[in-house]
Assembly symmetry: C2
Amino acid sequence: MTDGPLASWKDGSAKRAIVNFVNTVTTPGDGFVEVADRIATFDNDGTLWVEQPLPPQFDFVFRRWAEEVKADPSLAEQQPYKAVIAMDPAFFGGIATQDPEVVGTLLKAFSRTWEGTTPDEFEAQVRDWLATVKQPKLDKLYIDLVYQPMLELLDYLRAHEFRVFICSGGGRDFMRVFAEGAFGVYKENVIGTAAEYHYTDGQIVRGEHALGTLDVGPGKPEHIFAQTGRLPLFAGGNADVDIEMLRAAKFALLVNHDDADREFAYTSGADASLAKAKELGWTVTSMKDDWTTVFIPGGTK
Amino acid sequence: MTDGPLASWKDGSAKRAIVNFVNTVTTPGDGFVEVADRIATFDNDGTLWVEQPLPPQFDFVFRRWAEEVKADPSLAEQQPYKAVIAMDPAFFGGIATQDPEVVGTLLKAFSRTWEGTTPDEFEAQVRDWLATVKQPKLDKLYIDLVYQPMLELLDYLRAHEFRVFICSGGGRDFMRVFAEGAFGVYKENVIGTAAEYHYTDGQIVRGEHALGTLDVGPGKPEHIFAQTGRLPLFAGGNADVDIEMLRAAKFALLVNHDDADREFAYTSGADASLAKAKELGWTVTSMKDDWTTVFIPGGTK
């Protein structure tokens, strides 16, 4: 499994397309790309780790909100608390389709919960969640549900002098807590939806508003350009919110969740991206057919 | 001059303080700092290159605005064009003190000039300026007026597994054009005042508004945290707008411009930071006494 690069990738068309592309851009001659321009960006949920039944950060957030409702039962009548308690499918559908009213309600609640917290306080909350909460079907900590083939891909790209970034609709500060340990990606290479922070009295403190757009759809290339000054040479994603990032890249890899036995089989939220992949010739990797292993053996160290 | 690390630094208290600090944080034992936390941030104008008679970006901007006035003489009656043509000292004083009205007028004019441009168009304008405009007193291209001792310091820190960032009140995209060639700092490690960009039709295009706060004063640690997820372990600056960044760092280096013969001697815009350095025990480096060479020999390659 750990023999050579991309050891958990079967010798199929996806692996061959990746290797061919990397060889082309790193070999002097036609198609060579300077080291400075070798930026790779990867979505997180469903691309680097499991995103079912919901992107893991929602579990973290909803537990926090459940505690708030316990402390103040009147919140149970307000959104988004009401929808969260009822697991209202219309509300959760609105998250997937980026319904502006649903997104606005969520952002307001995030602000209510975390405005005024320091990075250390927030990090402690995330670490506690990471160490205790298991994915219900797979009965493992989320941090142990990282995809081994994708970790090998990040290593392979870094070995060819790519700088690897994460670019997710999820919270930048949430991902920064575990990206170094789980993916070997420094905090500064984690791009995501972000809150404003203020610096007062020698302390960074979370503000009320978001910094920039939501990091989904066109927000992905916008955030990538803001953070790196470039658009990606290589990008990996798995969902419709990744389409613009994948289109902005020279090489696009789409992870297809078609492995009900080892993980999940679903195309919900990914139908448009699968169609785009066909139209534009993106590389699609089948978890079922291309990956000898799905999850990191032994979990994140 | 290129013998060993920090070869252009005389063996004085500034060099000794830098070397002692770096040895402490990189040697196992008391004061050791994990590699992940080794973030160094440097102001640009007056810290890494010359900032007299004005931060170089103003020269770039004012030339652009002069062309606009030529094309549309009615602009000459409006601010900031009027102040720029008259070189109005009250207006320029307002830049130094961050007068909100002056800053607002400038930001509106930036937006008017560059809204809708692509990164390639902007880069071509900056490259043209870099290749043609000389600093008036020193009669050299600005890009050749980079401080050799500071370049050696960046190298020294990188050799000790620091990740080096630039953090300047100047324009992020302006600095990103030359930071890789001049400082060996990748675009993604350049932090500055920034415009919003939008992604439409496969293209990144500059928007109307700023993204986040101005990158001066408290804006510096705010931008550093947003970009890196950390506050700096080591920071270097030279002016009052750097105070908050220097306070946020474990080690603070202040460049004192006291070399009228080889560069300039001035404390204007730096009086408060020089006082803070005394109060808080920051390391102050004297260009005159500590540096055997000021500018890179031969210029930026």
